[in-house]
Structure formats: structure tokens, C-alpha cells
């Protein structure tokens, strides 16, 4: 990424980024959403969305508020069902298996598909160290070398240097950006194959945002990342592929999904072009 250059247009950023990336090593497991519909009560909010998220890529989901991006991403790790009236249809395939299949242990699914939320939400009653390792306790996992895991997760989340001397302080004492990276580290500790990020930077300052974007780029070497963002520059900077969601007052639909450079430079749909060039939304 060429951060030093002024950003002239999103298309340039996306193209430069794709070029620099080239064919990097592909790792992680893909996840595929097939014909997803979602409802809240009687309200149909997502209409027939299918996306194949390739292993080791970062996919950004963009679109105006209320187009169903967050609902969609929450379907991918079965957080959708916590809303009392929520319903869905379609399939989500992880390693070829439908995560909604009856008889599935949902806690195992969520171990494989981590999530970072919009608002940093470390556990305030736990120290930094306990926060990172909380997933092990919550999912009742045993790990032989905890301190090694602790360090590697914090290093990968780009937080190690800032907190290595204060691991026993409470997580709430960190800044917002650090808290969010702590939450990323926490997700990494249970080694998910897929990481979902629901507007992870919308509550953060630009410096912290940049820091987290670097983290995302580094993590994409080892896992599949799906990030919902309102910030098109961010989508252009961090993602390999971009999906554009839109609702015309009815349920949200996927207008198009392809490589990020294509979405920003040569979108197939007029509505995508209008959105990424800032004509609405």
C-alpha cells in the first residue's frame, strides 16, 4: 500500500492495492453464502444474496445504511438468531457444510467464524491478558502454551508492543483503537478460519483506523476476512473483493460483487457506479 501518495481517486487506490498484492499465498477456508434471505418478523430485509468468499481474501461489503449488510454478516456466524423475531432462508457453507443444518453445535461454528463488532467490547472485568485468552475459557478449550498464544495473538493484532508491559491491567484502560485491536486479538486466540468485521473502525479515529487496516491486511494471509464498512476509501484500501448492497425501500439485495478494482473503476451496474462515485448514499 502506498500510503505516502495522496489519494486521487478510489479506483487508483484499489488498482494499486490489487497490483501490489498479486497472487499471494492462499490460506484459510472459504465460506459461501447461498440464496440468503432474512426477515425480522414479517419484514423481508435481505433478498436472495449469494456470495462466495474465497479463502485468504478480504471481502468488503459496502452500501448505504439499512441495506442489510450487517444483518447479512451476522447470518454468517449465526448471530442473527439472537434477535427474537429473526428468521432466515438459504445456506451458509463452511468447508462445504451448511452451518444451519439441524444438529449443528452452534458454539463450534462460532469458534471457526470469529467476529469483531462495531463498538470495541472488551470484557471490562478482565485484564488484557484474560481478555485475549477469554475465548479459551468461554469455549472450554485447552491450550498447552498460553503465554505463547497470548503473545502471538497480540502481535498479529498489532498490539503487542503497546501492551506487553501492562498485560495485567484492565482492558477498559486502553484507548478505543487499542480496545478494538484487543478484540481482534481475542478473536484470533481461538484460531478462526473466517473473521467477520462489522464496521470495526466506525467508532475510531483515523490513526487507529489505519492501524487496524494494516492488521487486516496482515491477517488476510492466514484467514478469510469479511468486513462491513461505510467507508468506501476503507473498502478500496483493504479489500480484494467488494460486494455492493442496496435496498430500494424493500429488502436489501446484492447489486454486484467482484474484485475491488473492478467495483471502483469499472462497475457493471449503474447504481454501483453512482454509489462509489458519491452520487448518493
Amino acid at each position: 500500500m502506498s500510503q505516502a501518495n495522496p489519494v486521487h481517486s478510489l479506483a487508483n487506490v484499489a488498482a494499486a492495492h490489487s497490483a501490489s498484492k498479486g497472487d499471494h499465498h492462499i490460506a484459510g477456508t472459504g465460506i459461501e453464502a447461498k440464496n440468503i434471505h432474512a426477515w425480522f418478523g414479517d419484514k423481508h430485509v435481505i433478498d436472495d444474496v449469494s456470495i462466495d468468499f474465497f479463502p485468504g481474501t478480504v471481502t468488503a461489503l459496502i452500501g448505504p445504511s439499512g441495506c442489510g449488510k450487517s444483518t447479512f454478516i451476522r447470518i454468517l456466524n449465526r448471530m442473527h438468531e439472537f434477535i427474537p423475531t429473526a428468521a432466515m432462508a438459504g445456506e451458509v457453507l463452511l468447508e462445504g457444510k451448511d452451518i444451519y443444518q439441524s444438529g449443528t453445535d452452534v458454539t463450534k461454528i462460532r469458534l471457526g467464524i470469529g467476529m469483531v463488532f462495531q463498538k470495541p467490547n472488551p470484557f471490562p472485568s478482565m485484564t488484557i491478558k484474560e481478555n485475549v485468552l477469554s475465548g479459551l475459557k468461554l469455549a472450554q478449550l485447552k491450550v498447552s502454551n498460553q503465554s505463547e498464544l497470548l503473545e502471538s495473538c497480540l502481535v498479529r493484532a498489532g498490539l503487542w508492543n503497546e501492551v506487553k508491559d501492562r498485560l495485567n491491567e484492565y482492558g477498559g484502560a486502553l484507548s478505543g483503537g487499542q480496545q478494538q485491536r484487543l478484540c481482534i486479538a481475542r478473536s484470533l486466540a481461538v484460531s478462526p478460519q473466517v473473521l467477520l468485521m462489522d464496521e470495526p473502525c466506525s467508532a475510531l479515529d483515523p490513526g487507529s483506523t489505519l492501524r487496524i487496516e494494516e492488521t487486516i491486511r496482515e491477517l488476510s494471509a492466514s484467514m478469510t476476512i469479511i468486513i462491513v464498512t461505510h467507508n468506501m476509501q476503507q473498502a478500496a484500501r483493504v479489500s480484494d473483493r467488494t460486494g455492493f448492497f442496496l435496498s430500494d425501500g424493500g429488502p436489501g439485495r446484492l447489486i454486484e460483487c467482484s474484485s475491488t478494482s473492478e467495483i471502483f473503476s469499472n462497475p457493471k451496474d449503474k447504481r454501483t457506479e453512482d454509489y462509489v462515485t458519491g452520487r448518493f448514499g
Partner: protein
């Protein structure tokens, strides 16, 4: 902020001219707000005024002593008043009540917050709230006629198998109207308050923390352990203390199922216990003017104890709610 200029302007008073209707309303709510303080103050003054003489003559012995001797007028002996045994008994039955009520209440609150299906939640909350509204004499009568025969049997079992523990020892064959049974009746009476406070605190657990736990692959139980309990701990403890406060002040129900004896005994299954509130009811009808003052003094002590517990409970709950 301020520059080198030494003459800062004086701070202005910021005022507004209230309307007449506003003034009237203000007067009404101010009266309402202060009335409870005034009533509370007057009651405690009344009790203190009447009991002052007893405190003077008995001194600290009123709290620590455990004799309540009211000589006949012709004997010409000095009276002796000490409520130590009653205070001890009050605490004992309060703790027994808490021992049974606390786990049941926390369990019920957890069930209502995280396990109960929606159609069951509302009716159950209603039932629990209604439980809090049942007159205490009803609990007393139920305790006496329904619970006691069963509890007597349980007490015998406890004595048989755990009798080697001093508190379950039994010097006489008298299992009815014991602190154990009074504690059981009280437990049922304080379940609603502990349940509803715990439930409210649990319901305030921030959703983002709950979701964070689930997103990390938590089971429901591990989520509750790691997120709900740490968040609600203070509130639940505060709720338990409010329950204890109620148990300590409870009068009629305990009076019905407890044999009041002026003695400090550690055997909780024995038909001999104490309770300041019930003791007052017990003695009130036949008390001579002098003894009446001693009862007022007892009331004052009880009042202080419950006030203290309630203050402490509210303090803990509020501190949790702000976190």
C-alpha cells in the same frame, strides 16, 4: 485558558423567572419529597424519645444482655432489659432465610432472563411479583399449618445425619417452631425481592458483551459465568441484602412459627429462637408502661439495623448500576 490580563469578568448568575404554575408544582413535589424524610425522622425521634430512659439505665447491656425480667410491682425489684438474644436470633433466622432464598432467587432470575421462553416470562414475573404482595400473616399461617409438619420431618433427618455438627445438635425432642422453620418461611417471603432485583440487574448486562462472548464460541452457561455474573455481582449481593433487611424486619410470620426464648442457642433445629420484631409483638399486649418503653427502645434498635442494611444494599446496587 486565561491570558495575561488580570481582570477576568465576574461570573454571572444564570437565572430564569419561573412561571406561577411551575412554582405551584414545585411546591407540591417538594412537599412530597420531604414528607418521607420528615415521617422517617419523626418515627425515629418518637422511638428514641420513649426508649431513651431504657438506654440510659441499661447502657450497652441493652444490646448485649439477654435477660428480659419484668418484676411484679409488689416485688420492688429493678427490671432488666436486654435484647442480645433477640438480635442474635434475628440474624440467625435472617441468614437461614438467605441460605435457602439466595440460590433459588438467583436461579429463578437467570431462568427468567436467559432461559425462559417468551410466553412464560411475563406470567412468571407476574406470579413472583404477586408473591411479594401476599400479606405476611398468610405466610405465617401457611408456615404453621402446612410447612411445619414437613419441615419438622426434614429437621429430624438433618439432625439424624448431620447431628454431629453442633448447630444441628438437639438437646431436647422439640423440632417445631425452630429458627430453621422460621428461616424457611422467611426464605419464601424474600425470594420475590431478591429474584426481581437480580433479574433487573441481569437484564441490564450490556448486549455487546453478551454477543462478544457468544461470538467467541461461548456456551450459554460459560457466557453467564464470564459476562453476566461479573456484571451483576454487586447488584445481586445488594438484592440479597435487601432481602435480609426484609427478613430482619419481618414480624407476624415469624411470630407464628417461632418459639421466642431469651437465650442464645446455636442449635438451629431446636424450638427456641429470637427475633426482635416478633418479640415486640409478643410482649406488646401485656406490657406495663415501663416495659413498653423498653419495647420502643428495641424497636429503635431494629429500625437502625434495618436502615443500615438497606442503605448498604442500595449503595451496592447503585454502584453496580453505574458501572
Amino acid at each position: 485558558m486565561s491570558t495575561a490580563t488580570s481582570t477576568l469578568p465576574p461570573k454571572r448568575e444564570i437565572t430564569t423567572k419561573p412561571r406561577f404554575s411551575d412554582k405551584v408544582f414545585r411546591a407540591v413535589v417538594t412537599t412530597g419529597g420531604f414528607s418521607s424524610l420528615v415521617i422517617l425522622g419523626l418515627i425515629s425521634l418518637f422511638l428514641l424519645y420513649n426508649g431513651l430512659n431504657v438506654f440510659r439505665t441499661e447502657g450497652l447491656g441493652f444490646i448485649t444482655g439477654f435477660d428480659w425480667i419484668v418484676p411484679l410491682p409488689e416485688e420492688g425489684l429493678p427490671a432488666q432489659y436486654g435484647i442480645g438474644a433477640m438480635l442474635y436470633g434475628t440474624v440467625v433466622i435472617g441468614l437461614i432465610a438467605l441460605f435457602f432464598a439466595f440460590p433459588i432467587s438467583v436461579g429463578a432470575a437467570l431462568f427468567l432472563s436467559y432461559y425462559a421462553p417468551d410466553w412464560l416470562k411475563k406470567p412468571m414475573v407476574l406470579v413472583i411479583d404477586v408473591m411479594a404482595a401476599i400479606p405476611s400473616i398468610v405466610f405465617g399461617l401457611w408456615g404453621f399449618f402446612v410447612l411445619m409438619p414437613h419441615a419438622e420431618y426434614w429437621a429430624k433427618l438433618i439432625h439424624k445425619y448431620l447431628g454431629f455438627i453442633p448447630i444441628f445438635d438437639m438437646p431436647a425432642n422439640a423440632f417445631t417452631r425452630s429458627p430453621f422453620i422460621a428461616g424457611l418461611v422467611l426464605a419464601i417471603m424474600i425470594i420475590p425481592i431478591i429474584t426481581s432485583i437480580s433479574r433487573e440487574i441481569f437484564a441490564q448486562t450490556p448486549l455487546d458483551r453478551i454477543q462478544a462472548a457468544y461470538a467467541l464460541g461461548a456456551t450459554k452457561w460459560s457466557m453467564i459465568k464470564s459476562v453476566v455474573f461479573p456484571y451483576g455481582r454487586g447488584g445481586v449481593v445488594g438484592g440479597a441484602m435487601l432481602g435480609l433487611g426484609r427478613a430482619i424486619g419481618e414480624t407476624v410470620a415469624v411470630y407464628t412459627v417461632l418459639n421466642i426464648v431469651f437465650d442464645i442457642r446455636i442449635e438451629v433445629l431446636l424450638s427456641a429462637g429470637g427475633s426482635v420484631a416478633s418479640m415486640i409483638v409478643n410482649k406488646f399486649g401485656e406490657a406495663n408502661p415501663d416495659e413498653l418503653k423498653a419495647l420502643m427502645a428495641s424497636g429503635f434498635v431494629l429500625f437502625l439495623v434495618t436502615l443500615l442494611i438497606n442503605f448498604l444494599a442500595n449503595f451496592i446496587i447503585n454502584r453496580t448500576a453505574r458501572e
